[in-house]
Structure formats: C-alpha cells, structure tokens
C-alpha cells in the first residue's frame, strides 16, 4: 500500500507532466517537451527493469537490448516501407516476447554472478549483430524517415501527439505493472527473490514464473524502445550497448530498487544530472564514476526509498 505522501507525489507529477506542453508553449521553449518525452521513455524502461531486478533479484545487465529491439521494430519496418503503427507494434511485442523467452530460458537456470555475465554477454551479442548489419546502417545508424502511423487523425509527427502518446503509455504501464507486482503472480516473483528454495518447497515451480516476469519486463522495455525510435527518428545499435544497460540500472538504484515508481524519478534525476554535468565538462564521467560509488555506499535506498512510507505493515 502506498502512503498518502507517495500517492500525492505521483498525482502531482502526473498533472505536471500533462500540463508541461502548455507551459513550454507559453514560454516558447519546445525543447522541454522533447526532453521530458525522452525522460518518460527511459522511465518506462527503468520501471520495467525494476520489475525483475528490484522485485525479482534478476540482475539483468542487458536490459537495454529490449530498448534497441523496440526501436529496430520501428526502424527496420519503416526501412521496408511498412509504416503502419499497428503492424510495427505487433512485431515489436511478439519479437521482444520471443527473444526474452529464449534468452530467459538460457540464463534463468543460472543465478548470481553467472546470470549477470550471461545477460551481459547475450545483450552485447545483439549489439555486435546490429553493428555488423550494414544494410541497416551498421554502427553509423539509420535515419527513420517516418514515424509510426496509427490513426489518420493522430499524426505522430505532431510533437504534442507524440508527447501524450508517451505519457499515456507511461501511465498505463505503471498501473499495469503495479497491479501485477501486487497480484498473486507478483507475490511469486517476490517470494522467489527472497527465498527460491522455500518457494519450491511450498509448491511453486519458480522457473516458469521468473521466465514470465522476465518476458513481461522485456516486452514493456520494448514498448519504450518503440517510442524511442519514433521520438528520435533514428536507429542505432548504441541503444543496446551495455553502457545503456548500466544507465538503466543506475536509474533504478537512484530511484529506489523494488519500488516500481522510484525508477520513474530515478530516470528523471539521472538524465538531468547527466545533462548538467556534461555541460560543465567533457569528462563528466570522471566525476560521475566516483559519485556512483558513493551513492552505492551511502544512498542505496534511492529517492523513493527515503520517503516515509507505510509499505511494510509492522506491529499495530
């Protein structure tokens, strides 16, 4: 159960996001719409990662793969002149579901350090694959000529339409994932995190459930990638690079692991921070590296985790 404060913060944030384009137009700074659109996309991706990482302890160091796959679903189809949004969406969902299922089957029977290394390696495999596909630009990338077409009345080339589509997707996925994590399914995932042997002993075939959770996370992240490809109108294997996966993990940690909503703010904080620091110096990672170490040591619970909350029901 969320505390009053947290619910209040979420509602206010939603309202601010919904009102942003109006403000931006009023002060004639369309840049902010683009910026927040990007933040929201990464919020979705970070949230999907928290679903398996924060709640399920599946430390997947290759989650950005699905961002890339979603973008590729848009870009590759557009390249072949298939610009129908629904077709692209179906390919995106089915494709990410399939690949996450295969990768999950390979890696979920291992755990701990093995799992981290395997997910890392498998994601990089796709990155190298992307680079070697010269037809789609290789490592130079490929411009996407047109955004997905859904309804005639809803032209995604209009910035506002794009923005509200992203906001809508964010809201829907947030609600769906929140429901899922508190449902019976979610309890199994959370229990497997806490004590997998115990779960098996009371009768849960945990692998099946972890696999489905893994797939859900992959598909949701793929949706974020779908939006990313549309927003940037550019396709590059860099979306899948392990560095991006690392960034997603940072967003989850900064926001608060295992809170689902924390990573939304974590994405915001990280992107803002990166923007700020890189304006200061080209070598911002030199400072960010040690900062990250300090954050891990001292601010582990993340932003959301530091808020007073009644998420655990203690003795009443």
């Amino acid at each position: 159960m969320l505390s009053r404060l947290k619910i209040w913060i979420l509602m206010v944030s939603f309202l601010l996001l919904a009102a942003l384009p109006f403000f931006a137009e009023a002060i004639d700074e369309p840049f902010y719409v683009d910026l927040m659109a990007r933040v929201m996309i990464f919020s979705i991706a970070a949230m999907s990662l928290d679903f398996i990482l924060g709640y399920g302890a599946m430390i997947s160091f290759g989650h950005a793969l699905y961002l890339g796959l979603g973008a590729y679903a848009v870009g590759v189809l557009a390249f072949y002149e298939v610009t129908n949004g629904w077709t692209q969406l179906i390919v995106c969902v089915l494709g990410t579901a399939f690949i996450s299922m295969v990768l999950g089957l390979i890696s979920l029977r291992t755990n701990g350090i093995y799992f981290i290394m395997i997910t890392f390696a498998l994601a990089q495999m796709f990155y190298f694959l992307g680079i070697s596909l010269e037809a789609f630009g290789g490592d130079d990338g490929l411009p996407i000529d047109s955004r997905s077409e859904f309804f005639e009345a809803f032209d995604l080339n209009e910035t506002w339409n794009m923005y509200y589509l992203i906001l809508g997707t964010l809201t829907v996925t947030a609600v769906v994932l929140w429901k899922a994590i508190n449902s019976r399914f979610g309890m199994v995932v959370r229990g497997s995190h806490s004590n997998d042997d115990r779960m098996k002993a009371i009768g849960f075939p945990t692998l099946k459930y972890r696999l489905v959770a893994f797939m859900i996370a992959g598909v949701v992240c793929g949706l974020a990638g779908f939006l990313l490809g549309n927003l940037t109108e550019f396709l590059t294997p860099e979306y899948m690079h392990w560095f991006r996966s690392g960034e997603l993990m940072i967003m989850v940690m900064v926001g608060g692991m295992g809170t689902l909503f924390g990573p939304l703010f974590g994405a915001f904080a990280y992107i803002m921070l990166e923007d700020l620091l890189s304006n200061f110096t080209e070598y911002w990672q030199f400072y960010f590296g040690p900062l990250l170490i300090l954050l891990v040591l001292f601010a582990k619970r993340g932003l959301w985790g530091m808020l007073p909350g009644k998420e655990d029901m203690s003795d009443e």
Binding site: T110, I116, I118
Partner: protein, 307 residues
C-alpha cells in the same frame, strides 16, 4: 580456404586465447574466491596497455616496459582493492555491479585526461617485428609466436603456483569453499588483496602484449571483458583449468570462425546473403557456443565450487 591459411588463423586464435586466458584467469579467481563481480577488470587490461606504451616510449625497450609494468599494475590492483573493493565484499551483487561500473567510467575518463584522447602508438622493436617461416612458404609474425610462448609460460607458472605452493592451495580452497578458509584462521584480507593484485598483473601483461596489435584507447577493456565473461561462464567460476580450456576454445572458435564462416556460407547461399549474413553470424558464433554449453552444463565445464 587453404591449409596454410587455416594454420595461420588457428595460430591467431591461440594468440587471442592467450590474452583471454590472462584476463580471465585473474577474473575467475576474483569471482570464485572473493565472490565479487568486478566489471572493472577490463580497465586493468587497458591500464596495462597504457602504462606499457608510456614505458616503451621512455625506454624504447619492450622488456624494460614489461619489468616496469608488472609492479605498477600490482600496486594499482592493490590500491583498487583496498579503496573500493573492500567496501563491496559484504554487499550484494547489484551494488558490486554498480560500483565497479562507476570504476569503469572513472578509468575510461582518467586515461583520456592523462594521456589524451588519441590512441597511443606502440610500434614493435625490430627484433620482434619480423616473420618466421613456421612451415616452408608460410611466414608468420614472430611477435604473435612470442605472445603464445609467453602465454604458455604464464599458464605453466600459474599451474605450478596453484598446485605446489601454499598460496596456491589457499586459492584453490578458497575457490571451492570460501567460508571454510576463513574459519581455518587464514588471513582472508591478505589473501584477497594478493589475489586481486595477481589478477591485475595478469590483465596488465595482457594489455602490454596487446598494445602493439590493437589501438590503445579509452574503452578497449570492455570488449575483452565480454569475452572474458564468456570464457568464465563456459569454463566455470573459480577454475583456472576451465579458464585455460575455455580461452583456447573461444580464441580459436572466434578467429577461425570469423574467417571460415563467410567462405562456408558462400557454398550454401548466394553471395549477397553471404555478404550480409556472414559477418553477422560470425559475430554471434561465440555466444551461440556459450548458450549451447550452458544448456547442458549450467555451471560451466569445470565448476570449482562443490556446494
């Protein structure tokens, strides 16, 4: 594909395998004994290459550069262990991943700050830059043979240390059952620092030897790190023997595979498909191999842990 060409690729594969072994051997011990995920191991490889090119630039001697790089890498490794890694032993893997990720960022920028953005040049001294005829009409670079030779020496030395010395025994025991070793009253802290330092030295040597063969630049460590991960997953965490076997297999698979596959594909499909699919498939070979091996043996070929 001629026999000669195959032999050449095979030897290249062995040489690549040497680099992989040097990097993976240290990393697999760190993972197995200290149970710490260290993403920054690739950075040690990179630092070795940078130090080597500087020392070589100063002294014009590869040998001297090697002699200087070893203690420097040992110190660097021990420093990293003392300052950062120690705080991570009690933490869970997620924290370790993030913290060592931070180290990667730090080191990648550090080398750019100190050495500049351009790649460091390291040309081979004359006595190493020629070819030798391993078979009549088959010239092969002397340097690569030297690398293979060094690899064999290091592997032999490592095996000797692991099996014949007390330190080696502690390492084996620690890899197979860490809590026990602590319970036996061994100074775990010292053991960890030494293991990490050793890993840093090996990675540094790999970096030094790789410097003449590839560009020495920021970020060169991470590509090798991925391969090291694959090696360790296949070989089994904590197992030097596993690291050796897997390094050689992966090295050869990757090198020979890359050159054979496009040729093989031309036999099966038309040239245009082969052009696109060939390199793509070649880059995936090693990972497919990993997936297949994992399917049958989720703990790798020679897992060191009994429990």
């Amino acid at each position: 594909m001629t026999v000669l060409l195959f032999i050449e690729q095979f030897l290249n594969g062995m040489q690549f395998g040497v680099f992989l072994f040097l990097i993976s051997a240290g990393l697999t011990l760190v993972l197995g004994i200290m149970n710490v995920v260290n993403l920054a191991h690739g950075s040690l490889y990179m630092l070795g290459a940078y130090f080597a090119s500087t020392f070589f630039g100063l002294t014009d001697s590869l040998i001297v550069a090697l002699i200087l790089t070893i203690p420097v890498m040992l110190v660097v490794g021990m420093l990293i262990e003392l300052v950062v890694l120690r705080t991570m032993y009690e933490r869970d893997h997620m924290d370790q991943v993030l913290a060592t990720f931070g180290l990667i960022l730090f080191f990648n920028e550090l080398v750019r700050l100190i050495w500049g953005v351009d790649a460091q040049p390291l040309t081979l001294p004359v006595w190493l830059s020629g070819n030798v005829e391993i078979l009549p009409d088959a010239p092969y670079p002397v340097y690569r043979l030297v690398v293979i030779g060094v690899g064999i020496l290091v592997a032999a030395g490592l095996f000797w240390m692991i099996t014949k010395t007390r330190m080696g025994m502690l390492i084996r025991a620690g890899a197979s059952n860490r809590p026990m070793v602590g319970a036996l009253g061994v100074n775990i802290r010292f053991l960890f620092t030494m293991v990490f330092g050793l890993g840093a030295v090996f990675a540094g040597i790999a970096g030094l030897m790789a410097a003449p063969l590839q560009s020495v630049e920021s970020g060169m460590g991470e590509d090798m790190l991925i391969f090291a991960f694959v090696v360790i997953v296949i070989g089994g965490i904590g197992s030097i023997r596993g690291a050796l076997v897997a390094s050689v297999v992966i090295g050869i698979f990757e090198t020979v595979g890359r050159s054979i596959l496009p040729v093989l594909m031309l036999e099966i499909v038309d040239s245009e498909t082969a052009q696109t699919a060939g390199p793509a498939l070649a880059s995936m070979l090693v990972y497919i191999l990993m997936a297949v091996i994992l399917f049958f043996k989720p703990q790798g070929l020679f897992p060191a842990r009994t429990g």
